[in-house]
Symmetry: C2
Subunit: 341 residues, 2 copies
DNA sequence: TATAAATTTACAAACGATTGCACTTTATTT
DNA sequence: AAATAAAGTGCAATCGTTTGTAAATTTATA
């Protein structure tokens, strides 16, 4: 009853009184094997419920059809969208994906990398943890000829293909939109200074102000962590200012939603008394009332592009000498939170 | 410069003029190898940047430390939460996860299963596609001694461990809550009849009505697909009824949000004119105004439980003879959409 | 010092698949 | 009918590890 072991080429060979190599070739439609034999072999393989052993094949080929993905978090909409995009492209190209999460922890990210390398992944797609300052664990992969593609959370000093959203432009567009909508005192709930995306968005904000002839005011920028809770606390600070702002550009959607809640709870009218805009186009932004103006970060698309970039390198068996950086243009999505009615 | 090949045990052996087996044993702290040698070997391994080849080890052990996960969708909050939970438990136990998505397509689900079996996963965690009626591809794994755990979208005729939310109870509680809040004409936006979760929730709804002495009315039940769009169209039908309902229990959150939007857009007051409740506790439910009463489905927790159930079976090397079904009790979360102020 | 016991290390055979090369058959040509 | 070409198969090595068993070395014992 218990059929302890998986059917192997050898089993088929024994059944048919043929050699293992003939079986292998027959299953691969090798021209040296005559049609009749091929069919016989295939039929028998099916009958014996043969599933090729990928682990054995991998060993012999010294390569796998496996892509490793490391993200800080899986449930966040942006990351799960990206994984979704990666999976689609990988699936089409015949790759399977390992998904690991760093939990925003550098140590775990390094461990994940080790484990995936040991599993001999053909390539790695990574969005680094907030606590990751050092990219040596990724740079080291070049020696092993394992291509790496970074997305969204990238590291400047790692030479690898990258997929990023144009944070600067997204922030610039968003801020400009607020300016053009007639808002005068535009505040910015910025992210932590050590994160590149925060700084880029801050730069975009400043540039937009400058280009419109607005004066940049230090007190209108409050740095917060990237979650909703800090969005509300940051907003409280802004609302306590002697000169209360009439618009807030938030570094991301959770922060914007925190602001939204705080403002709504005080009975202030959005967007009439104060406008809000976010960044990412999380599903929640459509749901709030009024819905939130934001910049679509195209997580799914970014995942797809990252996977393509990686698979290209895998298939040509070489890591890009001059790594490309694909910039996905974030699309400004104007909704009720910034559109005076 | 190009260090084409990965360091192997052989390389270390050559370096130290020891045999491969000694190296292998030294790295595993085998007692037969003397301390001094062990340390020397480990130091050299590190120096040569040795990463054990998991593919080779897997082949030789005829097993892997890999778990396959198949879900219909990755980006959906519930599924990405579940994957997150699975990853955490798997990581702690030293397993790596393959993530594949069926895209709600039976064929792709079968292909994913094949591929994961070929990759010799130690076990499989699956939430089946909507189009999956037949579980043969999963049942067949028993012969290969590959344990399977189904979660959320389970198949009755597959004998395997399962993790489900108590749909019946969740629906019952939710409906009862609406009754107790004083609503009289409680409608139900139900899911497709071929889905088990739909039917269970419908049953819970009916039972709650019955137990409260309410009469069940066929016309108050509208079957819809599980997304927001169908939530609004379903709601339109309900609102066109001669006797407009004063409460809607929706089969899941997207549908509830569709209803929420439709009702709000007509200027009707929630919850005063009409109450709404959903199912899943998606992030969006907290964001709408008023926030949505719902049943928390604990996706993260379900993932954890599923992974535990699977790893148990893997480690004891045997598939549960009498498969357990873990029922996660959905927690009714009462929010503004059903709480008359 | 010889011998037994204990310690340390090496040999070699797996695991399942792939593939270059050699060897049979059978078919073709002269 | 013999020689040659073509077609179909099989042999055996290989991938990097693990591990049972044998061998070699050291240490302890008599």
């Amino acid at each position: 009853m218990k059929n302890k072991h998986n059917t192997t080429l050898k089993d088929i060979a024994n059944h048919l009184d043929l050699s293992i190599s003939t079986i292998s070739r027959a299953l691969h439609d090798h021209p040296a094997i005559k049609q009749e034999t091929r069919e016989l072999v295939k039929a028998t393989a099916k009958r014996l419920d043969y599933y090729p052993d990928t682990t054995a094949r991998n060993l012999q080929k010294r390569s796998t059809n496996t892509i490793g993905v490391i993200v800080p978090e899986i449930r966040h909409f942006f990351f799960s969208s990206a994984i979704d995009g990666i999976e689609d492209i990988a699936y089409q190209a015949g790759y399977t994906i390992f998904v690991a999460k760093s939990n925003e922890d550098y140590g775990r990210e390094v461990l994940n990398t080790r484990s995936l390398v040991s599993n001999r992944v053909a390539g790695l797609i990574v969005s680094v943890a907030q606590t990751t300052k050092n990219g040596d664990h990724l740079t080291a992969l070049k020696r092993r000829n394992i291509p790496v593609v970074l997305f969204d959370r990238v590291l400047d000093d790692v030479e690898a293909c990258k997929v990023v959203v144009d944070d600067y432009k997204g922030a610039y567009d968003s801020t400009t939109h607020l300016i053009e909508s007639g808002y005068k005192k535009i505040a910015h709930l910025a992210g932590p200074s050590h994160l590149k995306i925060s700084m880029e968005r801050l730069k975009g904000y400043r540039a937009a102000l400058r280009d419109a002839g607005y004066k940049f005011k230090e007190e209108l920028v409050v740095h917060v962590e990237l979650d909703e809770l800090h969005g509300t606390t940051g907003t409280k600070k802004l609302l306590a200012l002697p000169q209360v702002p009439d618009a807030i550009f938030a570094v991301n959607d959770p922060v914007a939603i925190g602001a939204h809640k705080e403002i709504s709870s005080r009975g202030m009218k959005i967007p009439d008394e104060i406008a809000i805009s976010g960044f990412s186009n999380n599903p929640s932004t459509e749901i709030v009332n009024p819905p939130l103006t934001t910049v679509d970060q195209h997580g799914y698309k970014m995942g797809q592009v990252a996977a393509q970039l990686l698979i290209e390198q895998i298939e040509q068996g070489a890591i890009s000498q001059h790594p490309r950086t694909e910039v996905v243009i974030g699309e400004l999505i104007i909704r009720g939170s910034s559109r005076k009615s």
